[in-house]
Symmetry: C2
Subunit: 152 residues, 2 copies
Protein backbone atom coordinates (compact mmCIF):
# COMPACT_ATOMS: atom_id res chain seq x y z
CA UNK A 1 0.00 0.00 0.00
CA UNK A 2 1.30 3.42 -1.01
CA UNK A 3 0.74 6.74 0.68
CA UNK A 4 -0.26 9.60 -1.55
CA UNK A 5 3.30 10.94 -1.60
CA UNK A 6 4.83 7.68 -2.80
CA UNK A 7 2.07 7.27 -5.35
CA UNK A 8 2.72 10.75 -6.69
CA UNK A 9 6.46 10.12 -6.88
CA UNK A 10 5.97 6.84 -8.74
CA UNK A 11 3.47 8.25 -11.21
CA UNK A 12 5.14 11.63 -11.64
CA UNK A 13 2.09 13.55 -10.42
CA UNK A 14 2.03 16.11 -7.64
CA UNK A 15 0.14 15.30 -4.47
CA UNK A 16 -2.43 18.12 -4.71
CA UNK A 17 -3.11 17.05 -8.28
CA UNK A 18 -3.98 13.54 -7.12
CA UNK A 19 -6.39 14.90 -4.57
CA UNK A 20 -7.84 17.12 -7.28
CA UNK A 21 -8.36 14.14 -9.56
CA UNK A 22 -10.17 12.35 -6.77
CA UNK A 23 -12.29 15.41 -6.13
CA UNK A 24 -13.47 15.61 -9.72
CA UNK A 25 -14.11 11.88 -9.81
CA UNK A 26 -11.32 10.89 -12.16
CA UNK A 27 -9.86 8.70 -9.45
CA UNK A 28 -12.15 6.75 -7.10
CA UNK A 29 -12.18 7.69 -3.44
CA UNK A 30 -9.11 6.16 -1.88
CA UNK A 31 -9.10 3.73 1.02
CA UNK A 32 -8.03 5.35 4.26
CA UNK A 33 -5.69 4.35 7.06
CA UNK A 34 -6.79 4.42 10.68
CA UNK A 35 -5.66 8.04 10.79
CA UNK A 36 -7.68 8.91 7.63
CA UNK A 37 -4.73 9.10 5.28
CA UNK A 38 -5.22 7.89 1.74
CA UNK A 39 -3.80 4.52 0.77
CA UNK A 40 -3.32 3.24 -2.77
CA UNK A 41 -2.69 -0.12 -4.39
CA UNK A 42 -1.13 -1.14 -7.68
CA UNK A 43 -4.36 -0.63 -9.60
CA UNK A 44 -4.60 2.95 -8.46
CA UNK A 45 -1.03 3.51 -9.58
CA UNK A 46 -1.81 2.13 -13.02
CA UNK A 47 -4.87 4.33 -13.34
CA UNK A 48 -2.93 7.41 -12.33
CA UNK A 49 -0.07 6.58 -14.71
CA UNK A 50 -2.65 6.21 -17.48
CA UNK A 51 -4.02 9.65 -16.69
CA UNK A 52 -0.59 11.22 -16.50
CA UNK A 53 0.43 9.71 -19.78
CA UNK A 54 -2.73 10.80 -21.52
CA UNK A 55 -2.28 14.32 -20.14
CA UNK A 56 1.26 14.29 -21.51
CA UNK A 57 -0.21 13.47 -24.89
CA UNK A 58 -2.51 16.46 -24.59
CA UNK A 59 -5.82 14.74 -23.92
CA UNK A 60 -8.26 16.81 -21.87
CA UNK A 61 -9.51 15.44 -18.57
CA UNK A 62 -12.88 14.95 -20.23
CA UNK A 63 -11.35 12.81 -22.98
CA UNK A 64 -9.44 10.88 -20.35
CA UNK A 65 -12.62 10.28 -18.42
CA UNK A 66 -14.08 8.72 -21.56
CA UNK A 67 -10.99 6.65 -22.25
CA UNK A 68 -10.97 5.35 -18.70
CA UNK A 69 -14.58 4.33 -18.82
CA UNK A 70 -13.90 2.57 -22.12
CA UNK A 71 -10.94 0.73 -20.69
CA UNK A 72 -13.20 -0.59 -17.96
CA UNK A 73 -15.20 -2.49 -20.60
CA UNK A 74 -12.60 -4.66 -22.34
CA UNK A 75 -15.10 -6.60 -24.44
CA UNK A 76 -16.51 -3.69 -26.38
CA UNK A 77 -15.25 -2.37 -29.68
CA UNK A 78 -12.38 0.04 -29.50
CA UNK A 79 -13.86 2.29 -32.16
CA UNK A 80 -14.68 4.95 -29.57
CA UNK A 81 -11.18 4.97 -28.14
CA UNK A 82 -9.83 5.16 -31.64
CA UNK A 83 -12.07 8.12 -32.42
CA UNK A 84 -10.92 9.99 -29.33
CA UNK A 85 -7.30 9.43 -30.26
CA UNK A 86 -7.91 10.51 -33.84
CA UNK A 87 -9.65 13.68 -32.71
CA UNK A 88 -6.69 14.43 -30.50
CA UNK A 89 -4.37 13.84 -33.42
CA UNK A 90 -6.30 16.28 -35.59
CA UNK A 91 -6.25 18.81 -32.77
CA UNK A 92 -2.49 18.51 -32.43
CA UNK A 93 -1.97 18.79 -36.16
CA UNK A 94 -4.01 21.94 -36.41
CA UNK A 95 -2.12 23.49 -33.51
CA UNK A 96 1.14 22.70 -35.22
CA UNK A 97 -0.03 24.39 -38.40
CA UNK A 98 -1.10 27.48 -36.58
CA UNK A 99 2.04 27.71 -34.49
CA UNK A 100 4.16 27.30 -37.58
CA UNK A 101 2.49 30.33 -39.12
CA UNK A 102 3.04 32.28 -35.92
CA UNK A 103 6.66 31.28 -35.93
CA UNK A 104 7.16 32.61 -39.44
CA UNK A 105 5.57 35.90 -38.49
CA UNK A 106 7.62 36.26 -35.33
CA UNK A 107 10.81 35.46 -37.21
CA UNK A 108 10.03 38.11 -39.75
CA UNK A 109 9.36 40.64 -37.00
CA UNK A 110 12.52 39.84 -35.13
CA UNK A 111 14.73 39.77 -38.20
CA UNK A 112 13.52 43.14 -39.38
CA UNK A 113 14.12 44.83 -36.06
CA UNK A 114 17.24 46.84 -36.71
CA UNK A 115 17.89 47.44 -33.02
CA UNK A 116 17.26 51.17 -33.16
CA UNK A 117 14.74 53.05 -31.08
CA UNK A 118 11.15 52.17 -30.40
CA UNK A 119 9.87 54.63 -33.00
CA UNK A 120 11.50 52.54 -35.73
CA UNK A 121 10.92 49.13 -34.18
CA UNK A 122 9.39 46.60 -36.55
CA UNK A 123 8.11 44.52 -33.67
CA UNK A 124 5.95 47.33 -32.36
CA UNK A 125 5.04 48.43 -35.85
CA UNK A 126 3.96 45.02 -37.05
CA UNK A 127 1.92 44.44 -33.93
CA UNK A 128 0.16 47.71 -34.50
CA UNK A 129 -0.76 47.01 -38.10
CA UNK A 130 -1.98 43.64 -39.20
CA UNK A 131 -1.70 44.58 -42.86
CA UNK A 132 2.08 44.41 -42.50
CA UNK A 133 1.80 40.69 -41.94
CA UNK A 134 2.80 38.14 -44.53
CA UNK A 135 0.80 35.22 -43.22
CA UNK A 136 -2.70 34.62 -42.06
CA UNK A 137 -2.36 33.93 -38.39
CA UNK A 138 -5.95 34.39 -37.60
CA UNK A 139 -7.67 31.20 -36.57
CA UNK A 140 -6.90 29.33 -33.43
CA UNK A 141 -7.02 26.10 -31.49
CA UNK A 142 -7.98 25.49 -27.88
CA UNK A 143 -5.19 25.50 -25.32
CA UNK A 144 -1.97 23.57 -25.24
CA UNK A 145 -1.33 20.09 -23.95
CA UNK A 146 -0.18 20.78 -20.42
CA UNK A 147 0.42 23.64 -18.09
CA UNK A 148 3.92 23.58 -16.65
CA UNK A 149 3.91 20.63 -14.28
CA UNK A 150 6.83 18.17 -14.44
CA UNK A 151 7.59 15.58 -11.84
CA UNK A 152 8.31 17.16 -8.45
Amino acid sequence: MLTIGKLGAQAGVKVPTIRYYEQIGLLPEAERSAGKQRLYNRKALERLAFIRHARDLGFTLEAIRDLLSLSDKPDQSCAAADAIAKAQLREVESRILRLTALKAELERMVLQCAGGCIADCRVIEVLGDHSLCATDHHHHGHGEARQGQDAP
Copy 2:
Protein backbone atom coordinates in the same frame (compact mmCIF):
# COMPACT_ATOMS: atom_id res chain seq x y z
CA MET B 1 -16.56 58.44 -31.42
CA LEU B 2 -17.29 54.73 -31.29
CA THR B 3 -19.49 52.85 -28.87
CA ILE B 4 -18.03 49.74 -27.37
CA GLY B 5 -19.91 47.52 -29.82
CA LYS B 6 -18.57 49.31 -32.90
CA LEU B 7 -15.09 49.32 -31.44
CA GLY B 8 -15.26 45.60 -30.84
CA ALA B 9 -16.54 44.95 -34.34
CA GLN B 10 -13.75 47.02 -35.90
CA ALA B 11 -10.99 45.46 -33.83
CA GLY B 12 -12.38 41.94 -33.88
CA VAL B 13 -12.70 41.77 -30.10
CA LYS B 14 -15.81 40.88 -28.16
CA VAL B 15 -17.46 43.54 -26.02
CA PRO B 16 -16.97 41.80 -22.65
CA THR B 17 -13.33 41.29 -23.54
CA ILE B 18 -12.87 45.02 -24.02
CA ARG B 19 -14.41 45.70 -20.62
CA TYR B 20 -12.17 43.03 -19.17
CA TYR B 21 -9.08 44.68 -20.68
CA GLU B 22 -10.12 47.96 -19.15
CA GLN B 23 -10.71 46.28 -15.81
CA ILE B 24 -7.20 44.84 -15.69
CA GLY B 25 -5.70 48.13 -16.81
CA LEU B 26 -4.62 47.09 -20.27
CA LEU B 27 -6.87 49.75 -21.75
CA PRO B 28 -7.30 53.13 -20.02
CA GLU B 29 -10.68 54.00 -18.58
CA ALA B 30 -12.87 55.11 -21.44
CA GLU B 31 -14.63 58.41 -21.75
CA ARG B 32 -18.34 58.20 -21.09
CA SER B 33 -21.43 59.57 -22.78
CA ALA B 34 -24.12 61.47 -20.86
CA GLY B 35 -25.76 58.10 -20.22
CA LYS B 36 -22.49 56.58 -18.92
CA GLN B 37 -21.78 54.50 -21.97
CA ARG B 38 -18.15 54.10 -23.02
CA LEU B 39 -16.92 56.11 -26.00
CA TYR B 40 -13.74 55.45 -27.93
CA ASN B 41 -11.60 57.38 -30.38
CA ARG B 42 -9.17 56.29 -33.07
CA LYS B 43 -6.30 55.95 -30.62
CA ALA B 44 -8.24 53.50 -28.51
CA LEU B 45 -8.99 51.49 -31.62
CA GLU B 46 -5.30 51.33 -32.50
CA ARG B 47 -4.39 50.25 -29.02
CA LEU B 48 -7.03 47.54 -29.03
CA ALA B 49 -5.96 46.33 -32.47
CA PHE B 50 -2.41 46.13 -31.20
CA ILE B 51 -3.54 43.98 -28.29
CA ARG B 52 -5.65 41.76 -30.50
CA HIS B 53 -2.84 41.25 -32.93
CA ALA B 54 -0.33 40.45 -30.21
CA ARG B 55 -2.79 37.97 -28.68
CA ASP B 56 -3.14 36.36 -32.11
CA LEU B 57 0.63 35.97 -32.12
CA GLY B 58 0.44 34.25 -28.76
CA PHE B 59 1.82 36.95 -26.49
CA THR B 60 0.52 36.83 -22.94
CA LEU B 61 -1.34 39.82 -21.55
CA GLU B 62 1.66 40.48 -19.34
CA ALA B 63 3.99 40.61 -22.34
CA ILE B 64 1.52 42.86 -24.11
CA ARG B 65 1.41 45.16 -21.12
CA ASP B 66 5.20 45.49 -21.40
CA LEU B 67 5.10 46.03 -25.15
CA LEU B 68 2.45 48.72 -24.76
CA SER B 69 4.42 50.59 -22.15
CA LEU B 70 7.46 50.39 -24.41
CA SER B 71 5.54 51.72 -27.36
CA ASP B 72 4.58 54.73 -25.25
CA LYS B 73 8.26 55.73 -25.10
CA PRO B 74 9.29 56.06 -28.75
CA ASP B 75 12.74 57.48 -28.00
CA GLN B 76 14.09 54.53 -26.05
CA SER B 77 15.97 51.59 -27.46
CA CYS B 78 13.85 48.80 -28.82
CA ALA B 79 16.07 46.12 -27.30
CA ALA B 80 13.42 45.26 -24.72
CA ALA B 81 10.69 44.89 -27.33
CA ASP B 82 13.03 42.77 -29.38
CA ALA B 83 13.77 40.57 -26.36
CA ILE B 84 10.08 40.03 -25.68
CA ALA B 85 9.48 39.04 -29.29
CA LYS B 86 12.45 36.71 -29.29
CA ALA B 87 11.28 35.05 -26.09
CA GLN B 88 7.90 34.54 -27.70
CA LEU B 89 9.57 33.05 -30.75
CA ARG B 90 11.52 30.58 -28.62
CA GLU B 91 8.33 29.70 -26.78
CA VAL B 92 6.53 28.99 -30.03
CA GLU B 93 9.42 26.96 -31.37
CA SER B 94 9.55 24.79 -28.30
CA ARG B 95 5.80 24.21 -28.44
CA ILE B 96 6.10 23.14 -32.04
CA LEU B 97 8.82 20.65 -31.18
CA ARG B 98 6.80 19.19 -28.38
CA LEU B 99 3.61 18.97 -30.39
CA THR B 100 5.46 17.32 -33.23
CA ALA B 101 6.62 14.59 -30.87
CA LEU B 102 3.07 14.16 -29.60
CA LYS B 103 1.81 13.94 -33.14
CA ALA B 104 4.23 11.12 -33.93
CA GLU B 105 3.15 9.23 -30.84
CA LEU B 106 -0.55 9.69 -31.58
CA GLU B 107 -0.05 8.57 -35.16
CA ARG B 108 1.68 5.44 -34.02
CA MET B 109 -1.14 4.72 -31.57
CA VAL B 110 -3.86 5.27 -34.12
CA LEU B 111 -2.14 3.30 -36.87
CA GLN B 112 -1.60 0.31 -34.68
CA CYS B 113 -5.17 0.16 -33.52
CA ALA B 114 -6.55 -2.78 -35.45
CA GLY B 115 -10.14 -1.87 -34.67
CA GLY B 116 -10.79 -4.92 -32.54
CA CYS B 117 -12.05 -4.86 -28.98
CA ILE B 118 -10.83 -2.71 -26.13
CA ALA B 119 -8.76 -5.51 -24.66
CA ASP B 120 -6.52 -5.42 -27.73
CA CYS B 121 -6.63 -1.68 -28.32
CA ARG B 122 -3.23 -0.11 -28.79
CA VAL B 123 -4.58 3.30 -27.83
CA ILE B 124 -5.57 2.14 -24.39
CA GLU B 125 -2.52 -0.03 -24.08
CA VAL B 126 -0.03 2.65 -24.98
CA LEU B 127 -1.67 5.12 -22.64
CA GLY B 128 -1.37 2.61 -19.84
CA ASP B 129 2.29 1.92 -20.35
CA HIS B 130 4.77 4.62 -21.12
CA SER B 131 7.49 2.11 -21.95
CA LEU B 132 5.59 1.30 -25.14
CA CYS B 133 6.35 4.78 -26.43
CA ALA B 134 8.85 5.48 -29.13
CA THR B 135 9.50 9.10 -28.30
CA ASP B 136 10.22 11.12 -25.23
CA HIS B 137 7.16 13.27 -24.87
CA HIS B 138 7.86 14.36 -21.36
CA HIS B 139 8.63 18.05 -21.15
CA HIS B 140 6.12 20.72 -21.83
CA GLY B 141 5.42 24.31 -22.72
CA HIS B 142 2.98 26.74 -21.15
CA GLY B 143 -0.42 27.10 -22.76
CA GLU B 144 -1.34 27.83 -26.35
CA ALA B 145 -1.71 31.16 -28.06
CA ARG B 146 -5.41 31.81 -27.70
CA GLN B 147 -8.49 30.26 -26.25
CA GLY B 148 -11.24 29.84 -28.83
CA GLN B 149 -12.37 33.38 -29.52
CA ASP B 150 -12.64 34.43 -33.17
CA ALA B 151 -14.25 37.60 -34.39
CA PRO B 152 -17.89 37.79 -33.27
